[in-house]
Amino acid sequence: MHGLFIALNDLKITLKDRKVTTILLLMPILLITVLGSALSSAFTPDTMTDLHQITIAIVEGEAANLNDLERFIPMDQMEEIETSLSDLDINRIVKEEVLQSEDIKSLVSYEVLDHHTALSKLQAKDVAGIVYLPDQFANRYIMGNKSEIKIVTNTDSQIDQMILDAVFRSFSDQLSLPRIAVSVVQEENIKEGVGTFSFSKTGEDIQSLVSDKGISLEFLQKTEAGKQLISSKEYYTSAVAVMFMLFSAGYGLMNMLHDRDHYTLMRQLIAGASKFQMLLGKFLYTLFLCVIQLSILFAYGYIAMGIRLPSDLLAFMILICAASFAMAGLSVLLCGIVKNQRGAVIFQGLIINILSLLGGSFIPIEVMPKIFRPLADLTPNGRASRAFVHLIEGGQWSSISSSVLMLFGFGTLCLLIGVCVFRPAER
């Protein structure tokens, strides 16, 4: 009973806090909107073919230099990675995934040229523009550095410029937005540890995310035969919702740290709440928060973005519970091992990044290097978001039961470890 009171009290505080609700609900809603807005909803394929077709030149970027990564990776795995890295080859992604996609093929055709030939063709108006793909993309992306796609166009054709801009800006947004968004949240949280929070600041950040959105791409995922294709908005609704659950787990921890720092934990203990009840409080808090969060985000996806909901609604609900359970367990584990704000910042900054990257929230798992793909299934968020996608694709309970089991198992394991190592009086 004590655990429930603690959870409800924390939940009340969270839901009253505009900053926290912005991060946990508004941010993901905006991200889903931006990432999921499809080119095809703005231009249907029919109207697109009515537009004139343009031809562009592509100057490929220098392939990733693996020497930079060598320091982190054992020699005997280098060869394997070299082949895997070709998956994160921007030259390939642009040519095969972007320019070959149904919507764009009819709009843009391309040829791969070297810099000088491309330039002379542009001057002769044989091509409408040149697209320079970034060098060393895979390295830079993995290390979290910015890459740039440069586009040079013929100044006299406005419409060509617009099309190029739309295609490539949204493509680059899709690759970078989740990263940007996560950094915004992280910076806010880090700031909070030392100073006060200014709401308007985040308001602007979010607005700039929205106004930047331009037109986005329909990014079709490869799916198994017989299944329905999953759309980018469906993919991103799952991926973003799951990524932001990690932040909810982070808030379970933040509440515990607040209780430690302000002696409210001491008060709870003296008022008769056992160590276990305190953790149960944070567990239930995170569980409730995640269920609320997932319900709202999928409801938003359904109502505002028009995503499909799984036909197997029972399995869907069980999955929501399982994913929330895993996060709730994670928050208890964190409460057990993290004793100060520094630890919380590390979790928010580093662990969420790694889990989100591995779990496919930054870039679709299918475009990730092959060696990373199995890791996605080991992260609770990756596992959960894949399972959501499976269900939306028309998968049944049987296709996600192992994931549900894994999520409950992960949650239970974290919970047990957290309960064992938690020491309320230690600082």
């Binding site: 009171f5 009290n9 002696y263 008022a271 008769g272």
Partner: protein, 311 residues
């Protein structure tokens, strides 16, 4: 009948001994003051009494129950007011009271009646529905005490409840504590303000560097300093030579100079005041204030440790 019996309590944090083998007894209905400078070990002692932390060695009996074996029985007896404002700042005072009240098992009408009663006691009846965030420092401290009263404790433990607040709130708090004690509640009150402890408490313990260096009734403790008076003179400069000179002509007085304050400890200060002033008048800097105090806890502390209570 003792409410609290501390037997050879020691608490170590790594190599640091926060509380060093202290023993003391606190009678039922006593108002016991625990006095000591920063880092003396007051909060550590209190946290151990309230079962929040485990001792390294020794035991404490509260209402006859050992903290080692009967922690939950003890928790029912005590009310704790932590050193910090232990409240949820974005909730109202009433919401804070009712959250902790629920943990204490209160529900419905009983809970809201209790909350009203406590708001009345701490003088915040008409401000109960405002967020703690919007309270002044003194109001926060008052409601901080209020939460400690939610379970009608037999033993109320207050850890420096008046730190950093205005005189008016401070008086209100001191009066409240005094009233609670008069109604039969045993109180442990820690502070590093000796005036507060002197005003409030019946029995006093003085802690320093983890040790209990003096304890007893107010009179007993004051007598430890041999009924010495304290002379405090503010003078921005005093040469070692003059200090030496003073010490030579007045060997039976204890002297201490630091931070522009000369402290002289001894009996019948008035009789030697003239001699002291004669010497000080030869200094270049002027005396800015001078004060003679009756035997008090400050002089006891100075007498026992050679240091002033407040740094």
């Amino acid at each position: 009948m003792y409410m609290v019996e501390i037997n050879n309590l020691t608490k170590k944090y790594g190599s640091l001994t926060a509380v060093d083998d202290i023993s003391l007894k606190i009678e039922t209905e006593d108002l016991y003051g625990l006095l000591g400078p920063n880092g003396a070990g007051k909060s550590t002692t209190i946290s151990t009494i309230s079962t929040f932390i485990q001792p390294t060695s020794g035991d404490i009996l509260v209402g006859g129950h050992s903290i080692l074996t009967k922690a939950s029985a003890i928790r029912k007896l005590i009310g704790l007011v932590p050193q910090d404002v232990a409240l949820y700042p974005t909730l109202t005072a009433r919401e804070n009271l009712s959250f902790f009240g629920k943990l204490y098992g209160l529900r419905g009408k009983d809970l809201s009646k209790k909350a009203d009663e406590i708001l009345e006691t701490v003088g915040l009846r008409d401000r109960g529905n405002e967020k703690i965030d919007t309270y002044s420092g003194g109001m926060k401290r008052r409601i901080n005490i209020g939460v400690g009263l939610m379970n009608d404790p037999k033993l109320l433990i207050l850890d420096e409840p008046t730190v950093g607040i205005d005189p008016q709130s401070r008086n209100h708090i001191l009066e409240t504590v005094k009233n609670l004690n008069q109604r039969g509640m045993t109180v442990i009150y820690t502070s590093h303000y000796m005036e507060e402890v002197e005003f409030l408490c019946k029995h006093i313990g003085i802690m320093d560097q983890g040790k209990l260096i003096a304890q007893g009734s107010k009179e007993e403790v004051c007598a430890l300093a041999g009924n010495e008076e304290t002379l405090t003179i503010h003078i921005s400069q005093l040469s070692a030579q003059h200090l030496q000179q003073l010490q030579t002509i007045l060997p039976e007085y204890t002297m201490h100079y630091g931070d522009g304050i000369l402290t002289v400890l001894g009996k019948k200060i008035h009789s030697v005041l003239g001699d002291i002033l004669t010497i000080l008048n030869t200094e270049k800097s002027k005396i800015t204030s001078l004060d003679v105090q009756e035997p008090n806890l400050e002089s006891v502390f100075l007498h026992l440790t050679g240091r002033a209570l407040r740094d």
